[in-house]
């Protein structure tokens, strides 16, 4: 996927990832997810797209879950961008958050091949680069 992919297409793909993600998050595999690390990756990625992205992300978690995003149980993580969507956060920021959050979760849960996860829903930013920050 590259930056030319329309937002509504990427949104559709992200939404269709929810059922397998939810199923996988209800297995023992979810216990191994490092939420703090995951949220750090998401913040790094969306700050490249929009400087206000990490602030919006944190405000969403505080408002809807009364917790910091990194304190959330893994099962709640896919709901963060859905809450952003219902709050009327700009669609591009919602889709970018879905892209990085869902694709990284899919990788961590081993439901997508490691060599492919960087391509999944992203705008061509190398996730390996983000890992190194």
């Amino acid at each position: 996927m590259d930056s030319e992919q329309p937002l509504r297409l990427r949104y559709s793909i992200a939404m269709s990832m929810l059922p397998p993600l939810s199923a996988a998050l209800n297995t023992e595999a979810a216990e191994d997810i490092d939420v703090d690390r995951l949220i750090h990756i998401v913040e790094q990625y969306i700050s490249v797209y929009d400087l206000d992205g990490p602030k919006i992300l944190e405000e969403t978690c505080r408002k809807h879950f009364n917790k910091s995003c990194s304190e959330l149980p893994p099962q709640e993580l896919p709901n963060i961008p859905l809450k952003m969507l219902s709050d009327g956060v700009s669609f591009d920021i919602v889709v970018e958050t879905m892209a990085i959050l869902y694709s990284t979760l899919a990788y961590m849960l081993n439901i997508v091949a490691p060599e492919e996860y960087g391509k999944l829903l992203t705008r061509g930013v190398s996730i390996e680069d983000i890992h190194q920050t």
Binding site: R8, Y11, I13, M84, S90, F91, D92, A106, K119, L120
Partner: protein
């Protein structure tokens, strides 16, 4: 193609369902070029041609706002795009606060906002030879600028969003 991206696991199967449910595929960029050409070949003057173009784009914008789950988020995205375009063309913050059903209503509101900005900077525009220092000339210039801003904003937003074929 998506199967190649995602491999052959559970995700690929679910993708198929999602794509179908959301009414894809989407139109390509050529669609917008043709929309421009079509609009600009049918109007009697610049203002009328721009008006036809904006009206066609606006009906697509209203389509994009039909899904209640994404409506407010997409509205915010379009407003963000309009802000960027109006800042680049007029150095002013011209944003459609509402998306009414009537395109004429929207054009009227934006023209009024642009007219105010043009009046404030009238000396600059007169010096550049863009407008005559008369009420009629200022009003006409404001209307054309408003249509250009709206059209460019909608076209750019729709290309980034993707228009369902």
């Amino acid at each position: 193609m998506l199967g190649t991206v995602l491999g052959n696991g559970v995700l690929t199967e679910n993708l198929g369902v999602g794509m179908h449910e959301h009414g894809l595929p989407l139109v390509n960029r050529r669609f917008f070029e043709e929309l421009r050409e079509e609009s600009f070949s049918s109007g009697r003057d610049t203002e009328h041609r721009l008006q036809i173009w904006v009206s066609k784009l606006y009906s697509l914008v209203l389509d994009a706002l039909k899904d209640p789950r994404t409506k407010s988020s997409i509205e915010r995205f379009i407003q963000k795009t309009c802000r960027e375009i109006s800042m680049a063309t007029l150095e002013a913050d011209i944003v459609p606060e509402k998306f009414p059903l009537s395109v004429d209503e929207l054009i009227e509101v934006i023209t009024k906002a642009v007219h105010k900005v043009v009046k404030e900077k009238v000396e600059e525009y007169v010096n550049k030879g863009l407008v005559e220092p008369t009420a009629d000339s200022i009003a006409k210039f404001a209307k054309i600028k408003a249509l250009e801003i709206l059209g460019t904003c909608f076209e750019s937003s729709l290309i980034k969003l993707g228009v369902v074929a």
